[in-house]
Amino acid sequence: MQQEEQLSGEESLNLINRMIQEAKGYSYETGLAAIIYGFTAIVCSGLSFLREKEIIQFPFHPFYLMVPVFFIQSWVQYREEKKKLAKTFTDEAIDYIWIGFFLCVLAALCAGFAGIHYIQISFIIIVAALAAFLTGMVSKMRYMIVSGFICWALGIISFFVLNPYIYLLLTAVAIVIYVVPGFLLNAYFKKQHHGR
């Protein structure tokens, strides 16, 4: 591109439009972080269900397994961020949505210390639905919008399942909002960056 080339008004507007579309279309998201979280949430929910049904013994609440995974996921995220050539406003907005979600989850888990069980899982499912819906709206990813509605429906169902089976609903939520989009993002990433 030659810098001194003078443009007509129309050419300038076309150039602006083209560059804005180029920048907005940029993404560097492997989906790996979502896949890691998704499978961990499935394992933790499954173990919690088995523990509550007294099928297995577990020395601590299985959801504490999320703590080391959080650090692994943060490392994966950090490495991914370093490879990004541009940070878009969409990326930033999605980061804030999920930070808000995790803070809500941490706050909800404190209900366990007050001796409250299960209802906080319903709350987590509803907040997860909100995070998925907002992510879908911001990123224009239709799948996430639909997954938000699915999770809201699961959230409503969970009010009627305030027993160990609620962990199975949580497993379904993990599949819908983490595992499936993680693999979708990974496939898109491979197609965009490796032409596969």
């Binding site: 443009l7 560059m19 180029e22 920048a23 050539l85 541009a86 940070k87 930033e92």
Partner: protein, 98 residues
């Protein structure tokens, strides 16, 4: 009376750089080079001109032991870009009505 088009922005490469930077929070030099298809030398000169005009901020740091340049648009740059687009639209409107 027409507003004069900003000479800093009214050049193909500088306008392309500004259009990219207005759409993202920040972008690396390699990203801008890839999207504009400009040569590194030419791009450096134009980035410097935009920096001197106060339209963009340039941060130089090391990333994995390699020098890395990151650019982001300033408030002044956003204002100048908006005024430029407004002026362009006025020109085009008059052109179409003739």
């Amino acid at each position: 009376m027409f507003k004069e088009l900003d000479p800093i922005l009214h050049s193909q490469l500088r306008l392309a750089i500004m259009s990219l930077l207005i759409s993202v929070k920040e972008a690396e030099f390699t990203f801008i080079k890839e999207k504009t298809n400009a040569t590194a030398g030419n791009l450096s000169v134009q980035v410097q001109k935009l920096k001197e005009a106060g339209y963009i901020d340039v941060t130089k740091e090391f990333k994995d032991n390699y020098p890395n340049t990151t650019c982001h648009i300033t408030q002044q740059g956003i204002k100048a870009f908006e005024e430029y687009v407004k002026a362009l639209q006025e020109y085009l409107k008059v052109g179409q009505s003739r």
